[in-house]
């Protein structure tokens, strides 16, 4: 074990110590070790990467120490920055691998730890430098997108045009089997080792290796189905070939097969190694082949059906969620109405009845007192009416029932204490449930503008375009509205989700606040299909 590894272990230990100490400090957010690990996320990858980098620079101990210490400090105290650095570190590692491979083919004579292998001038493991570099490259690009580091947008835009949109029934791991297959095939048939005969040397081999590694990865990402097909074919052929080698050895000339180097060390133990590897390959091939066949037997129409089924599954999930939310909201609403009626109008009507009853009894003996009681009853019934009116407005605004969405929003604007401009361009008939959802959403936005934003004026635009009903509420208030913070806008979001509607809020500090509500006129729900 090299000195660099010792130092690395020491450093890892101290970082773990620091983490535990920080964890013990009363930190309100991440709870326990899991919380700490989760809070650091992809940033944790910086540690093994730093370990690899330290191992590479093994003989320059000071550099290794600095690398590990920096990585440890970043992961501990700046987890977000660490996560963003991971993809770049991987890309740098890939570049280094490329340079290293070229140096070996040019006659570099030192041993270097690269990734998982100790590469050296005459070791077969040196061949693994390039595939590892390609792997680091691809994973680096992928993480760039995942952690949203700078440059992610570009990668995402390129990938969107290029990645396989139709995954079909092939799992990623099935396509990834192509990597060991290609590695083994290159070892057997590669340009530097044509069944044990040195064909090419130097940079040519490096470039061909790099090309094959890249092509393999490209195929895996571009078309999972074909990558898995090639992997299945390769597994079967190479496995069968391994059995032939094992059966007829040493008649068949020796060469490198997986971990067995029959060319350089033709002992009997190597026979078992080949047989074992060949069996594993055959087993994997026999497992994969029928799955691949099934994928290819699917007619294009079938795969379209599969894609459609996937869409429908997602749709059902969304509908299940929004339906349960809608039911919850409806039940909560009914409970509120029941409570309001029970404590309000009902109680007041009981009071009216009691007052009238008492008045009836007093009518003959004390007309003056009876009259006062009748007055009380009148007062109570008046209050009951006011309360019922407020309740009805909250359930379904009468003006919305009378006049539809446009006029209801105009009436709403008139009742707002803020000067409000309303601009309506809507179809004649908007379905009542959709109209109600939009009405209450706009009401919430208006109430926020008046209450929280201290706006001076508001503009409401109702329009319809491209099959969407759209309401835009703009105020000139203080801004800083956050749908995640309050319950009001979150409730609006839930209400709209039932109709596949969305809420978007732009509210920079200092304003203006723009709330956009969009609901499709024609959705898959029969209830919301007319407008």
């Amino acid at each position: 074990m090299s000195f660099a590894y010792l130092v690395s272990l020491l450093l890892l230990g101290s970082i773990a110590f620091a983490l535990v100490r920080e964890m013990r400090k009363a930190s309100p957010r991440p709870a326990g070790l899991r919380g700490h690990i989760r809070a650091r996320g992809w940033g944790l990858l910086l540690l093994p990467i730093a370990l690899m980098a330290a191992a590479m620079t093994g003989h320059v101990h000071a550099l290794a120490v600095v690398e590990l210490a920096t990585a440890g400090a970043l992961v501990t105290w700046a987890p977000r920055l660490a996560a963003k650095l991971v993809p770049y570190a991987l890309l740098a590692l890939a570049l280094f691998g490329l340079i290293l491979a070229k140096k070996y083919y040019d006659g570099f004579s030192n041993h270097v730890d690269y990734g998982l292998v100790l590469a050296g001038p005459s070791s077969w493991r040196t061949r693994l430098v390039l595939p590892q570099a390609a792997l680091f490259f691809v994973v680096g690009l992928w993480l760039l997108v995942v952690v949203r580091a700078p440059g992610a947008g570009l990668i995402r835009a390129l990938a969107g045009r290029w990645l396989d949109p139709r995954r079909g029934g092939i799992a990623p791991v099935q396509a990834l089997l192509l990597i060991p297959v290609t590695g083994l095939a290159m070892q057997l048939l590669g340009p530097g080792n044509w069944f044990g005969v040195q064909a090419l040397t130097g940079l040519d081999v490096a470039l061909i290796d790099l090309g094959v590694a890249t092509a393999t990865l490209v195929l895996i990402f571009r078309s999972r189905a074909w990558a898995a097909t090639l992997a299945a074919a390769g597994l079967l052929v190479l496995g069968a070939y391994g059995w032939v080698v094992a059966a007829f050895w040493p008649v068949v000339p020796g060469f490198a097969y997986g971990f067995a180097d029959l060319h350089n060390s033709p002992e009997h133990a190597q026979f078992w190694s080949v047989a074992l590897e060949a069996s594993a390959l055959l087993a994997a091939g026999l497992w994969l082949a029928p799955r691949v066949m099934r994928e290819h037997q699917m007619l294009p129409a079938d795969s379209e059906l599969a894609a459609r089924a996937q869409q429908l599954t997602q749709r059902v999930q969304t509908l299940t969620r929004t339906r349960s939310e809608a039911v919850d909201t409806a039940v909560a609403e009914l409970r509120r109405i029941e409570r309001d009626l029970h404590d309000g109008a009902q109680a007041r009507l009981v009071a009216v009845g009691m007052s009238l009853q008492a008045a009836e009894r007093l009518f003959a003996s004390n007309p003056q007192a009876a009259l006062a009681l009748v007055g009380e009853a009148k007062e109570s019934s008046s209050r009951a009416l006011t309360e019922l009116r407020d309740l009805v407005r909250g359930i379904y605004p009468p003006v919305l029932a009378d006049r539809g969405l446009g006029d209801a929003i105009r009436a709403l604007a008139l009742d707002t204490p803020l000067p409000t401009v309303v601009d309506v361009d809507l179809p004649e008939q908007v379905d009542l449930p959709v109209a109600s959802a939009i009405y209450f959403s706009v009401a919430e936005a208006l109430a926020n503008a008046a209450k929280h934003a201290h706006a001076r004026s508001v503009r409401i635009v109702l329009s319809q375009a491209a099959g969407m009903l759209r309401a835009e509420v703009t105020d000139d208030g203080a801004g800083g509205a956050d749908p995640a913070a309050g319950t009001g806008l979150a409730g609006v979001e839930r209400r709209l989700a039932t109709f596949d509607g969305i809420l978007a809020v732009s509210s920079p500090p200092g304003g203006p606040t723009i709330v956009v509500i969009e609901v499709p006129c024609a959705s898959s729900s029969a209830k919301t299909s007319s407008c």
Partner: protein, 215 residues
């Protein structure tokens, strides 16, 4: 005084007929739907039509529409609109023709005989009666903006009562001040709002409402 009633709920219709008859009004027609109401209003030409906003056949604002249509055919036909709820939007539509002789009240106001019969007489005489709830919303909207913000609290009170359609005498009675004091406040209000002063009660109400409803 001849009255036409448009109200679809039997209990309320009969209650109104009984109440108005008891106060010496003559109910010439009591109908239950918007088309009947329109016909009765145009044919009977009552002194006041008392109209429920929500009527058959669609049970939306058919009553209001019938009333507006009747006033279209018979300009200035006095109409008192009753409703379970009041909307500024509907108040604006009723006031839009500037002809006066319009009332818009919550149904609860019927509880107060004097106030209700007073409103019927005001409308019959070409005046305007607006529910306090509508006026309150109008005032809230203007309370923060110039020049209404410059009015004294007392002047604002008087402005609100003027907007409801009350005469100087009624305002004086309500606020326990003399009619002269009311006139002085009114002059102050009209001066601050930049409105033409007027002795005619109806004209004054319309001017105030036009001002408050203008934004």
């Amino acid at each position: 005084m001849r009255i036409v009633i448009g109200e679809d709920l039997f209990l309320l219709r009969e209650g109104l007929v009984r109440l108005l008859t008891a106060h010496g009004f003559e109910v010439v027609a009591a109908v239950a739907s918007a088309p009947e109401l329109l016909r009765a209003l145009v044919e009977e030409r009552p002194d006041v039509g008392i109209v429920d906003v929500r009527l058959p056949p669609t049970h939306t604002d058919d009553g209001l529409r019938a009333a507006l249509q009747a006033r279209g055919q018979v300009p200035g036909l006095p109409v008192l609109v009753l409703s379970q709820y009041v909307e500024q939007l509907y108040a604006r539509e009723l006031l839009a023709d500037q002809a006066g002789a319009v009332g818009y009240l919550l149904k609860d106001r019927v509880f107060n005989d004097d106030q209700f019969t007073g409103a019927i007489r005001t409308v019959a005489a070409g005046g305007t009666v607006l529910d306090p709830e509508v006026v309150q919303k109008l005032m809230v909207r203007h309370s923060r903006t110039e020049p209404v913000a410059r009015l004294t609290p007392r002047e604002r009170e008087v402005l609100g009562l003027m907007a409801e359609g009350r005469s100087n005498a009624a305002i004086a009675q309500r606020l326990f001040i003399t009619e002269k004091a009311v006139s002085k406040h009114a002059a102050g209000i009209f001066g601050k709002l930049g409105l033409e002063p007027s002795d005619d009660d109806n004209r004054r109400v319309l001017a105030v409402l036009a001002y408050l409803g203008s934004c």
